[in-house]
């Protein structure tokens, strides 16, 4: 699959290049709780990961990115369009795939029936072409043998793949995925990585740092509704350079310590003099960042 340039609204003679996703000062509250606080970020072609603990605001950001939720303040541009305008929101939705965190399904449907229904709602009006597309996305997530079984008989991971197939319908320009690897076994995760690497622009929230390091070219760490880090995964790991050491004892001065399978204690924080420093990983950088943000 080749990437194609993302352009804004069609104006004769004018083509405007724009990032597929752009947030500027986006704020969203629920009652007195501010879920997203003045977030500015952009996402270009490729896979962008959102990392953060539960309740950090990742899902709210993704719901805004999927046009499901409007921000209280700030500017959102998706595929060069303004989703606050109904006509442009409709155009965005035609080119968008969305996998929510808890995608409920109809238990009495088969995967084929469900994805076919979603295709109808996505304006795939030509019946034969629609069925062909439904079959294509179901096969792409490995459901060729299960597409005609009732959803109520499928495992949690298989249901997750049904919802993912629905998001992939029409080969969308922008894929918004909230915890797409939930419930997937290792083989299915590899397939997911392969699918994501073929997609145009993907914004996904995940708790799986392995997913971020393997498919994302950029990562944003969200804490308390704010973005605390934006950059390549290697940059996040580099935050912990010189601040990770191993010892045979727990170290109370470390902000995080844990026992490794090798039987040594790995520490993140300010190392004591003479500590045996080791190369930092993405986990180290993330843990250090979250610990410092909580202080």
């Amino acid at each position: 699959m080749t990437s194609r340039p993302v352009t804004g609204p069609t104006v004769p003679g004018v083509v405007t290049a724009a990032p597929p996703l752009s947030f500027a000062g986006v704020t969203r509250s629920f009652g007195r709780s501010r879920a997203v606080d003045a977030v500015s970020l952009t996402a270009g072609p490729g896979v962008v990961g959102l990392l953060g603990p539960n309740g950090a605001g990742k899902s709210t950001l993704l719901r805004i990115a999927a046009t499901v939720l409007a921000p209280d303040r700030g500017e959102v541009r998706l595929l060069g369009l303004d989703p606050s305008r109904p006509d442009e929101r409709l155009e965005v939705r035609r080119r968008l795939g969305y996998l929510p965190q808890a995608p409920g399904l109809y238990p009495g449907f088969t995967p084929f029936d469900l994805v076919d229904y979603v295709a109808v709602l996505k304006e795939h009006t030509h019946a034969a072409r629609r069925r062909e597309e439904v079959r294509r996305v179901l096969v792409s997530v490995g459901l060729e043998d299960d597409m005609h079984r009732k959803i109520r008989r499928l495992s949690g991971g298989t249901r997750q793949r049904v919802a993912l197939a629905a998001a992939l319908l029409g080969d969308p320009d922008l894929l918004v995925l909230d915890e797409p690897a939930t419930g997937l076994d290792p083989e299915q995760r590899l397939r997911l990585r392969s699918l994501l690497s073929q997609a145009r622009t993907v914004v996904m929230a995940t708790h799986h740092i392995a997913e971020v390091s393997s498919v994302c070219h950029e990562v944003h760490v969200v804490l308390g509704g704010r973005v605390h880090f934006s950059g390549p995964p290697a940059g996040l790991a580099a935050l912990a350079a010189g601040r990770v050491w191993e010892d045979d004892r727990p170290d109370p001065r470390a902000v995080h310590s844990w026992l490794t399978p090798a039987g040594t204690h790995r520490h993140v924080g300010e190392p004591p003099a003479g500590a045996a420093l080791v190369a930092p990983t993405l986990d180290d950088g993330y843990l250090l960042l979250t610990a410092e943000a909580r202080r």
Partner: protein, 184 residues
Amino acid sequence: MSPAWVLPTVRATSWWPLAVVACCLAVVAVPLHAGALGADGPADDLLGPVAAALAAAAVAGLRDPAAALLAAVPAPAPTRRTHRLVLLVPAALVVWSAWLALGDDVRPPDLLALVALVALGLAGALAAAGRGGAPVGASAALAVGTAAPVVWVLASRAGGHGWDAHVGALLVVGATALVLGRDR
């Protein structure tokens, strides 16, 4: 939108609330029809509760377990809700008409009265949904919408006026809620 939405919407719609109410009415209708309950047809006192139950069942039928998955498709939530109402309201009206047909000397209120109660329930659900972004079909808002017709009939009875005395006002409330809640 092509009629392709009809069959999957029929299958996706929660029919069981309406089916439960219809079955209960059928059970009650047998002794009523036989005069065992001392009436020639549905008593006036029963019309309000029956209408409330049917309206509540129609609103409850909007429950959509896949609402989150469908939240970002081009066919917006109001369109999908309308699809369901196009199926649920006629079905409720059929049951309501059958119930009214049991009576000989009871003046059947306008069929619009049932539609007005459904509109009230829809208004309650949309108002309760607020701006939180939770789909109406998958949230506690639907419980508020389901309760609204029942509360209306009970309040009307307590207030001493007929439950179907303000059909026009209820329809206006429902229409207003649909306009104000068009993004929910």
